[in-house]
C-alpha cells in the first residue's frame, strides 16, 4: 500500500498528464461519430456570449456581400410573385384545407468554419425559439446543414462540409436518389454517391434535396454537377457537386422545422415494432 502511494506521488505529473490526455482523446474520438450528444460544443452561454459580442463588429465586413445576396433573393421572390399571381388569379384557395407543413425561423450565423474535416456553425437561436436537434438549415440559395446541439439561446449546425454529414439528395430532372457526403478537400465541392447508372446525368444538372428524409422539404437547391465518373466496383456514379451556397461566407440562415415530424416519427416507430 505504502509503495502504491509512493508511486503515485513520485509520478503525479505523468499520471495527471495521462488522465488529461485520456480525457481529451476520448472527447476527440467521440466527436468522430455522428450525433453523439457532445459535452464540449459551442452552443452554450459562454461561447455564444463572446461570439455575440464580436459579431456586431464582424458583420460590417460582410455587409456588401450580404446586401447583394438579399437583393438577389428579393429579385427571385419578386419574379415568383409576378408569375404566381397571373396563374392563380381566379382560383379560390380554401386555407382550411392547405395545412402548413414547414415553418422557417431566421437566424444569424455567429461562427462558421470550413477549413477542417469536421465543420460546424454556431447560430443565435436555440431552445427558447423551439429549435431542436435534426432541424434543417438553409440559406436563400441552398442547404447549409442540420442542427446538432442546442442550448437555451444558441445552437450548433453540422455543416454539409463535415465528414459525418450524409444528406438525402436527388437529381432535379429524374427521381434518382443518392446521399450527399464530403471528402474534406474543397469547401465549394461536395460528393453525391449512390446515384444509379440508369440515371441520365449531364454536367450542369441541378441537384436538390430529396423528399425521403423528414428534415428538409423536397426541392431545396444544393448545387450543380461539376463532373462525374462511374464507380469502379458498382453500378453507381460518383458525382462532384458544385454548391450553390458559398459556404465560406454565410451571414443569415433559415432554420426549417418540419411540423409533421412527430407524426412521421411515431409512424416509423410503429413500423419497427
Amino acid at each position: 500500500m505504502q509503495q502504491i502511494f509512493n508511486f503515485v506521488i513520485r509520478n503525479k505529473t505523468f499520471l495527471l498528464f495521462l488522465l488529461l490526455f485520456g480525457i481529451a482523446l476520448s472527447l476527440t474520438i467521440q466527436s468522430h461519430s455522428y450525433h453523439r450528444s457532445k459535452f464540449i460544443n459551442s452552443a452554450n452561454s459562454i461561447t455564444g456570449g463572446v461570439y455575440g459580442a464580436f459579431s456586431g463588429i464582424d458583420q460590417y465586413f460582410s455587409l456588401k456581400s450580404q446586401n447583394a445576396l438579399l437583393l438577389e433573393e428579393n429579385n427571385k421572390l419578386r419574379s415568383q410573385i409576378f408569375n404566381y399571381s397571373n396563374e392563380t388569379d381566379s382560383i379560390l384557395i380554401d386555407s382550411s384545407f392547405s395545412k402548413q407543413k414547414f415553418r422557417s425561423i431566421p437566424a444569424k450565423v455567429y461562427s462558421n468554419s470550413y477549413s477542417r474535416p469536421k465543420n460546424y456553425l454556431t447560430l443565435n437561436k436555440g431552445k427558447r425559439d423551439s429549435i431542436k436537434q435534426d432541424f434543417g438549415v438553409i440559406t436563400s440559395k441552398g442547404i447549409v446543414g442540420i442542427i446538432d446541439n442546442t442550448s437555451n439561446g444558441y445552437s450548433t449546425v453540422l455543416s454539409i462540409l463535415n465528414e459525418n454529414s450524409a444528406i438525402n439528395a436527388q437529381l432535379k430532372s429524374s427521381n434518382q436518389i443518392g446521399s450527399l457526403r464530403w471528402n474534406t478537400i474543397s469547401p465549394y465541392i461536395v460528393q453525391l454517391e449512390d446515384i444509379s447508372k440508369f440515371a441520365n446525368i449531364a454536367i450542369g444538372d441541378t441537384i436538390i434535396t430529396g423528399g425521403q428524409s423528414s428534415i428538409f422539404p423536397k426541392g431545396i437547391g444544393i448545387g450543380t454537377i461539376a463532373s462525374f465518373e462511374e464507380n469502379t466496383n458498382g453500378d453507381t456514379y460518383n458525382i462532384e457537386v458544385k454548391l450553390f451556397n458559398d459556404m465560406t461566407n454565410i451571414g443569415h440562415v433559415f432554420i426549417i422545422e418540419n411540423l409533421d415530424i412527430e407524426e412521421i416519427k411515431t409512424l416509423e416507430q410503429n413500423n419497427d415494432e
Binding site: L16, L20, A24
Partner: protein
Amino acid sequence: MNNIVTNNIFRFVLLLITQVIICNNINFLGYINPYIYIIFILLFPVTNNRLVFLLVAFILGMLVDMFSNSGGVHAAAAVLLAYTRPVLLKFSFGMLYEHQAIKFSNLELGSLISYVSLATVIHHLVLFSLEIFNTSQILQILEKTLFSSIFTIILSILLIILFGKRK
C-alpha cells in the same frame, strides 16, 4: 507574485479571444490558420508546480475546442505540449534552464526561435493528426502541419518580441 498571476490571467483571456475570434477565421489560402494561443503555454512561468501548469493548459485547450466545436483535439495537443515543455526548454536554453534563471522578456533570438519552432511543430503535429484522424491522409496532415506551423511561428515570435520588450 500577484503581478505574475494577473499578468497570466490577462494573457490567457486575451490570447483565447484573439484565437477564436480572429485567428480561427483567417483561413489563409483556404485552410491555413495560426494557433497563437500556445504562446500562453510557452511563456508560462517556469515553476516546480507542473500540476497547475498541466491543468491550466488543459483548460485553455478545452476552451478553444469548445469555441471551435472540435471535440478534444486542442486540449490533447495543449496538454502534450505542456508536458514536454521542460525537455524543449532544456534543449533550447541549456544552462539557463538548469539554473531556473529564464526570463522570457530578454532572450537570445536564436534560442527563442528554436524553442518556439520546436514547440509549435509538436503541437501542430498532434493537433492535425487527431483532427484528421486518418492514416491514409498522412500527407495532408504533414502539409497542414508545415504551413500552419510557419504561420504560427512567425506570428508567435513577433508577438513575443513586441509585447515582451516593454517589461
